[in-house]
């Protein structure tokens, strides 16, 4: 067996072992429970949620913002590292592209879940106002789904062709890979078109990702609400997405490295580099957090002051400080040291970053809504507080599980690490496959 054949064998998709099967079934069960809860929500209406006139965007929108933020990882690594021709990027880009694709798909679905009745999506098109950030959001999410799919698919073509040959003893599987590879034979023309397309899509995804995050921020900051009325919100969201995107990439990288024994390809160097990116992202995000909270604390009118008090010392203080310290301060303190950027500590920090990032979105959405822009008289007591109902938790958990399920399925059938590119870098590419990716 040649080195190239060995490489293909190591990087080709493999059937799940027992743990993988349990994992997939577990995720499917969570998704199934969520679907049942959603059907019940459609039948009974959104009364089954705890969203009322005050908190009308609850955990669904928090979750939506989280997914949108995670999808930023696609442009972060896939595009920036591609365009900057970073040599160490190879084992990471496809994982980033897979995460981005699954996250943006689930972001789109989560919006529909929040609408109550899915047929209301149609209203977004027929009654669309171009002045509304919600219209822009619908357009940009649809656009980003396509671009994420394209940036995932174009570099996959040579690998799919390799898999077609690799699975030639399984005719059906081989045929599917052949169909998916679009008859890729590696001709000069095909390489030229593919190379040009990857460059275009890598350039395109960066502004689109920035627009996506900014529009996501504008959904809030154009509403005049206490806690959201901020000119800082666009870059604040981009910085936050940078953090959670990197955190999620490191988490998935670590898990896949362990499960598929990819230590040879995803090395400590990759973790060190990603750790540096994460600490940089956290520092930038910390800077925007200081801007977002410290200046209003000095200049806040009464209502804004109450909102900040609620976050700093009030009902949401434990969550706020957990998110700020756990999601920003601790990662910075740990990751500035090289020992903190070793795979395991970095993985633990990345998991912490992802969890705190989810709650961060909850903190952005919910407490601000508890301070209504216009006072309402005779408000029932239960409107003054919000915590998601069981239906909301079931549906939200299902969306998170569905995102992981998409990643799991893609990982099962698509090479996690680009085979052709890796072979090229290792100098073991057979002469008939010598074209540049």
């Amino acid at each position: 067996m040649t080195k190239y054949e060995e490489l293909v064998k190591e990087l080709a998709p493999r059937p799940f072992k027992k743990l993988g099967v349990i994992w997939t079934i577990g995720l499917s069960i969570v998704v199934f429970i969520g679907i049942i809860a959603y059907i019940d929500q459609i039948i009974q209406g959104q009364i089954v949620t705890n969203m009322r006139d005050y908190v009308l965007w609850g955990v669904y929108i928090s979750n939506f913002v989280f997914f949108v933020a995670i999808s930023f990882v696609g442009s972060l690594t896939a595009a920036i590292l591609r365009l900057s021709k970073s040599s160490w990027r190879t084992p990471l880009v496809r994982i980033a592209e897979i995460i981005a694709f699954s996250a943006i798909i689930m972001a789109g679905i989560t919006i529909v879940l929040d609408m109550g009745r899915p047929d209301r999506l149609y209203n977004l098109f027929i009654h669309a106002r171009l002045q509304s950030p919600i219209t822009w959001d619908v357009i940009i999410i649809t656009t980003y789904i396509f671009i994420s799919a394209l940036i995932l698919f174009f570099p996959l073509l040579p690998d799919l062709a390799i898999l077609k040959n690799y699975f030639k003893d399984q005719p059906i599987v081989s045929k599917i890979y052949a169909w998916c590879s679009l008859n890729w034979t590696g001709t000069t023309k095909q390489w030229a078109i593919q190379k040009k397309s990857i460059k275009w899509v890598a350039i395109l995804i960066i502004p689109v990702a920035l627009i996506l995050q900014t529009i996501d921020a504008w959904l809030f900051s154009t509403t005049f609400r206490i806690g959201w009325d901020s000119t800082n919100f666009g870059p604040y969201f981009i910085a936050g997405a940078f953090v959670v995107g990197t955190g999620s990439l490191i988490t998935v990288m670590f898990v896949l490295r362990k499960v598929y024994s990819l230590e040879k390809y995803i090395t400590a160097l990759h973790f060190d580099k990603m750790g540096k990116i994460l600490v940089f992202a956290c520092l930038v995000y910390l800077y925007f957090n200081i801007n977002e909270y410290l200046l209003p604390a000095f200049t806040a009118p009464k209502a804004e002051g109450e909102h900040l008090k609620e976050l700093f010392t009030g009902h949401y203080a434990p969550m706020f400080w957990f998110v700020t310290i756990g999601g920003l301060i601790v990662p910075i303190l740990v990751l500035v040291f090289s020992k903190g950027r070793k795979p395991l500590p970095l993985f633990i920090i990345a998991v912490l970053v992802v969890i705190t990032s989810w709650w961060k979105r909850y903190l952005i959405v919910v407490p601000a809504l508890l301070h209504p822009f216009l006072p309402i008289q005779g408000v029932p007591v239960e409107w003054h507080s919000y915590f998601p109902s069981m239906h909301e938790w079931a549906i939200t958990s299902a969306t998170l599980a569905a995102a992981l399920l998409i990643i799991t399925i893609l990982v099962r059938y698509v090479p996690i690490i680009p085979i052709h590119r890796t072979a090229k870098e290792m100098g073991i590419l057979p002469t008939d496959k010598k074209e540049e990716l």
Binding site: Q131, F146, I193, S197
Partner: protein, 282 residues
Amino acid sequence: MRVILNIRYVILLGLFLFTTGFQVQSQSIKARLSVEYQKVIGEDGNLFINAKFKGDDGYEPSTQVKLNIYQEIIEDSTIMIGSVVTDEEGNANYVLPKNLIVKDSIITHVYIVKIEGDAKFKNAKKAVKFMDANLMAEIVFEDSLVQVSAMLTDAMGEPVKGKKLEVRVQRLFAPLTIGESSYKTDKKGQILVPMGDSLPSIDGNLVIEVVLDHKKYGNIKYVFNAPIAKLAVDESTFNDRTMWSPPNKTPLFLWIFPNIVIFGIWFVIVLLISNLFKIYKS
């Protein structure tokens, strides 16, 4: 035997007529009338009449009721001068021509409104008594202070003292009272009311009305235009293309630039998808 049968028919017929007549009588409803004399100086006076009855759900308007108007000439001697029919709200206006009101400060004018022979309502009547009076008003400027000066006189032009006048400005939904709720006329029959801060209006004019609402004189109003308003500038953006307009009034820059960006991005996406076909074909 035939006589007995005839007597029976007569008794049954009598009973039928009696009960039918009783039912008609019992269906007549008592209407309540109210009459007010109203006069805008320079125009004909009129009798504002309201007719209502107590129904199952409280007072309800007596609609389409013919009301006869009588003028009392000498005591207990009346002549019918006209009739009106109430509208859907039970209201009716009867215009009193100017020549009917004799200019004399001691004459009390009496008009009687009657419901007579109505199928639904019982006969009813209501009288209104009033003495003629005159009201004049104007704007006076005194040391840059804008004031409304009004004078109340009787039919012979003599000042009427101690009567309450209200000064107000006509607005879209209801008049706006200026200053106190009312001002008492002095011995010259006059009041002087400062206008305070200038009010806005579309053409710079305010329509001011001075109102006397008195049992003896009825409701008398003097209405005049005063060019003392602050010219209101229409700041409505209803017809403009704004960020808060409906879709058909989207600002043009929002049509142009985002669409350039969106179509630009999608043009590239379509090219990229066509590249996939090219790869497939090559």
